[in-house]
């Protein structure tokens, strides 16, 4: 540090944004070490951990235990991650209707024709209700 010009002291928000953007460039969950490395070693490991923990409190990131440390995921990516996990669950079940009552089931070719006829040939605004 002695021969370096002392880095400008950055605000908390700025550091959090830096860490978060670094995490977003990761391909999947990343460790704090990866984040630190990706930020160019500019920040101490403990600082990265502190910032990540602060982001966790804010709900901006999530973490999962992997071995002895944690891996971190930006929260904005959670929906995509959940979608991928869900697809894995569903694809593993050969007969998922057995467990999950899904909205529609598959269509046979005849069904498709029948369905188009049903939807096409009824009065569009003749909605009488009981």
């Amino acid at each position: 540090m002695a021969d370096h010009p002392r880095p400008r002291r950055r605000g908390q928000g700025e550091l959090e944004a830096l860490v978060l953007s670094a995490l977003r460039t990761a391909d999947g969950p990343a460790t704090a070490g990866w984040v630190q490395e990706h930020l160019g070693g500019d920040l101490a490991y403990t600082t990265v951990i502190t910032i990540l923990t602060r982001l966790l409190d804010k709900g901006a990131v999530t973490r999962e235990r992997a071995g002895r440390s944690f891996v971190w995921t930006p929260a904005a990516d959670q929906a995509g991650l959940a979608a991928r996990k869900m697809r894995k669950v569903l694809d593993a079940e050969s007969d998922r209707e057995a467990v999950l009552a899904s909205f529609v089931t598959g269509l046979e070719p005849d069904d498709e024709r029948l369905l188009r006829a049903l939807l096409g040939h009824t009065p569009a605004d003749g909605d009488e209700e009981d």
Binding site: A98, A101, E108, E129
Partner: protein, 310 residues
């Protein structure tokens, strides 16, 4: 007890007519409850009978842990064709128990995994997943019941149709349809003659949710178009097939039913119609099934008690 001990194994046949007629002639809620109840009772009775025959069969095996007196001729006389029936009941009951245990385990596993997949998301009742594959389903249990839907499915629906979709899935959750579905699946594993009831209930439960959704959004046609659009956009989805159904498949039948008049809510079907007679036939079959299995169980208990040296 004579051949009565075997009656509950074949009495599920008396429920076939109502399984066939209920979906068109009864309100889906009535049909679901009736068929599930019949299936549950008949499956239980048929399993009791298998267990009774198995006791007799096991007692004849060399080295069995049962009391010696249980292989006496008096006990064996309680079950007709005791040699064949007793021996056949052992693998049959093992198969039933294994299949049911596997089904329960699988049910729990899929639900657990699905909840775990959603664990990172905020705990809202609807989970919208960014996915190019269109699907939607109701996920019961966990910290709270959830409706899972993908952006691909929502994108193809109008706002009113989305409301219909959510109302449909919420109806599944509110009425605990997964319990009906699990019950009939287990029943069909316990006695293969109950399979038509399983097929019928998985259809009537969907119809029940459709009708509830139609009530919630105030338009039967909106629900029909939502189902139609969702089915057309998700065709070719490899995992979403329910093969082996006679044409026309369940989706066009549901749409056609929604485009027709609303089903009448009746306490019980009128007696002198085909569906009324079928329902009564199934009720009588269930009652006979209960009586003969109860009779067999009591008789067997007394016979075994008399044969057990104290």
């Amino acid at each position: 007890m004579g051949v009565f001990v075997f009656l509950p194994l074949v009495l599920p046949l008396t429920a076939w007519p109502v399984a066939r007629l209920a979906e068109q002639h009864l309100h889906p809620r009535t049909a679901t409850r009736l068929l599930t109840g019949v299936a549950a009772v008949m499956a239980l009775c048929s399993t009791v009978c298998l267990a009774l025959a198995m006791v007799v069969g096991t007692a004849q095996l060399p080295g069995n842990p049962l009391p010696d007196g249980w292989s006496d001729p008096e006990v064996r006389a309680a079950v007709p064709y005791d040699e064949v029936a007793g021996q056949a009941a052992i693998p049959a009951l093992c198969a039933v128990v294994t299949a049911c245990a596997r089904e329960l385990w699988r049910h729990g596993r899929v639900r657990r995994r699905a909840h775990r997949a959603l664990a990172g998301l905020p705990g809202t009742s609807v989970a919208v997943l960014p996915d190019a594959v269109p699907y939607a389903y109701a996920l019961p249990g966990g910290r709270r019941d959830r409706v899972v839907v993908t952006t691909a499915l929502l994108a193809c629906l109008e706002p009113a149709e989305r409301r219909a979709l959510f109302a449909h899935e919420r109806a599944h959750l509110a009425a605990r349809h997964h319990r009906f579905l699990l019950t009939v699946r287990l029943a069909a594993l316990a006695n293969p003659f109950l399979r038509p009831l399983r097929t019928a209930v998985s259809y009537t439960a969907e119809r029940w949710a459709d009708e509830a959704a139609a009530g919630a959004v105030g338009s039967r046609r909106t629900v029909a178009t939502a189902i139609g659009k969702a089915a057309l956009v998700s065709r070719g989805t490899p995992a979403a097939t329910l093969a082996g159904l006679a044409a026309p498949g369940p989706v066009p039948r549901r749409v056609a039913a929604l485009l027709g008049p609303a089903p009448a809510v009746r306490r019980r079907p009128p007696v002198f119609t085909s569906v009324g007679l079928a329902a009564w036939g199934a009720a009588v079959g269930t009652a006979v099934s209960v009586m003969s299995s109860a009779n067999s169980a009591v008789t067997m208990f007394l016979v075994l008690k008399a044969a057990t040296p104290l």
